[in-house]
């Protein structure tokens, strides 16, 4: 069980506000902090890692107190046993992939490094330097480096936001696999709804330094589920006349959808417009691909 209760005044784009987070996380949970940028998510995760000090509060992980302002306890980041993965990877440029992992180990164990490299599909890159790797590969190494230390808590600060969609999807699977394989407790910071939904057991929605909603990912993101309404936001890519109607191609996420429009629908719509694609009262069919 991880229990966190921290306060800290922050300076945001719209003036100052207080970060005030109270959170209890069961061991083994994958929890995501979701919210707009500037809401204090990164500061929160840095406080958990010990890189920033809360003004007041308490933080304990499995009965071990990491921070307690009342008792004047503040464990340094070195003693906290967290695995932190940064948005920009932060690999050591002067070390090869293998050396980056070896650096992270307390007790040297080459066998373990080999095992983790194999697990994350990095064996072939063991002797390469980080600057020669692609963004996705670098983030895999960062993940491997965080795991090799056997952390009590895995902290992921927008780890995939710099990657393209395909790499992101692949790494999401990787993160999910590692989380369950190593029985980790993971805190993810993200503002990608799909990613949050796919990975998280619990979601905490943060706004202005506070958790405004907390619950299962499904409850938080699929509030309208019972109305049987199907809706997506997309962008009109083209509109072409076909016989007496019009055919619009709309990009939704990474997919293209064709929608038939009549003259009346067309009024006010232009290529490039953001639109809501919605259908009511039908049963979606899903097929394995």
């Amino acid at each position: 069980m991880i229990s966190i209760s921290v306060r800290k005044p922050l300076l945001g784009a719209e003036g100052s506000f207080e970060l005030a987070v109270d959170l209890e996380v069961q061991t083994g949970t994958f929890i995501t902090l979701f919210g707009p940028s500037g809401s204090g998510k990164t500061t929160f995760i840095r406080m958990v890692a010990g890189l920033e000090t809360p003004a007041s509060g308490r933080l304990s992980v499995n009965d071990e107190v990491w921070f307690d302002s009342a008792a004047n306890i503040n464990l340094s980041p070195q003693l906290r046993r967290v695995g932190l993965v940064f948005q920009n990877y932060s690999l050591f440029p002067n070390m090869t992939v293998g050396e980056n992992l070896r650096f992270a180990q307390g007790r040297k164990d080459e066998g373990k490094i080999t095992e983790i490299l194999e697990l994350i599909g990095l064996t072939g890159l063991r002797n390469r330097y980080p600057t020669t790797l692609s963004g996705g590969q670098q983030q895999r190494v960062a993940l491997a480096r965080a795991i090799v230390r056997e952390p009590k808590l895995l902290l992921l600060d927008e780890p995939l936001s710099a990657l393209d969609t395909i790499k992101r999807l692949r790494l999401q699977d990787e993160i999910s696999r590692i989380h369950s394989l190593f029985h980790l407790t993971t805190i993810l910071v993200s503002h990608d709804k799909q990613e949050v939904f796919k990975l998280s057991d619990k979601v905490a929605v943060m706004e202005h330094g506070r958790i405004v909603k907390y619950g299962d990912a499904k409850d938080i993101f699929l509030e309208q589920q019972t109305s049987n309404k199907f809706s997506f936001v997309g962008t009109i890519l083209s509109i072409k006349p076909v016989d007496i109607a019009y055919l619009a191609v709309i990009g939704v996420g990474n997919e293209l959808v064709e929608v038939v429009l009549d003259e009346r629908d067309l009024a006010g719509l232009r290529v490039g417009d953001k639109v809501l694609v919605a259908a009511k009262a039908f049963n979606p069919i899903i097929k394995k691909i």
């Binding site: 890692a49 010990g50 440029p93």
Partner: protein, 222 residues
Amino acid sequence: MKFDLQPFLLTFELAALTTALLYLIGLPVAYFLAHTKTRIKPVWEAVISLPLILPPSVLGFYFLLAFSKTGFLGAFWERMFGHQLAFSFDGLVLGSMIFSLPFMVHPLLSGFSGIDRGIVEASYTLGKSRLETLRRVILPNMKGALLTGGVLAFAHTVGEFGVVLMIGGSIPGKTKVASIAIYDLVESLNYYEAHVYAGILFTFSFAILITVYLINKRIDVQ
């Protein structure tokens, strides 16, 4: 004709010792300046940069006062080591260190400031102490700055004249370095030997700078 190598040996001994000692002092000073949040940081920076703009004769004059038997440093030195600081090799080393300090500290400072904060924090969260992080993460990633600082301090010590003249005099084998030797030779109208000495120093300085730029270019490419 006889060609005296002694001033060159002395010059390189002085420069090498000064550079080595400056690494010991420059690294902590630059590390402190790069990380401090104190409001008097500009004062520290100004003090360290002073030797850049002060005329060497001004520095040399103050050194001479401090290093003499009655000066605070000179008196202390005489008690500790039994010989006077002014007009001695020790005095030259000490003077050179202060005179060349900015040439060591400035490159190191920009080296420390250029290190991505993320890799330092990554090292901390991986359980590594500040010292180990410095040794294995920070310093290896600022090799260019380390090289530049060392070479500039070395070259500047080789090239210094005014301060040495003021606090060292021209005692052969003790304080007569190459730049002073050239001055003496010109004074005694021995232009031939002065040409040889000057030519050697000229070539040496150029070679050093070319080496630094070439190596830094290679480090940048990596």
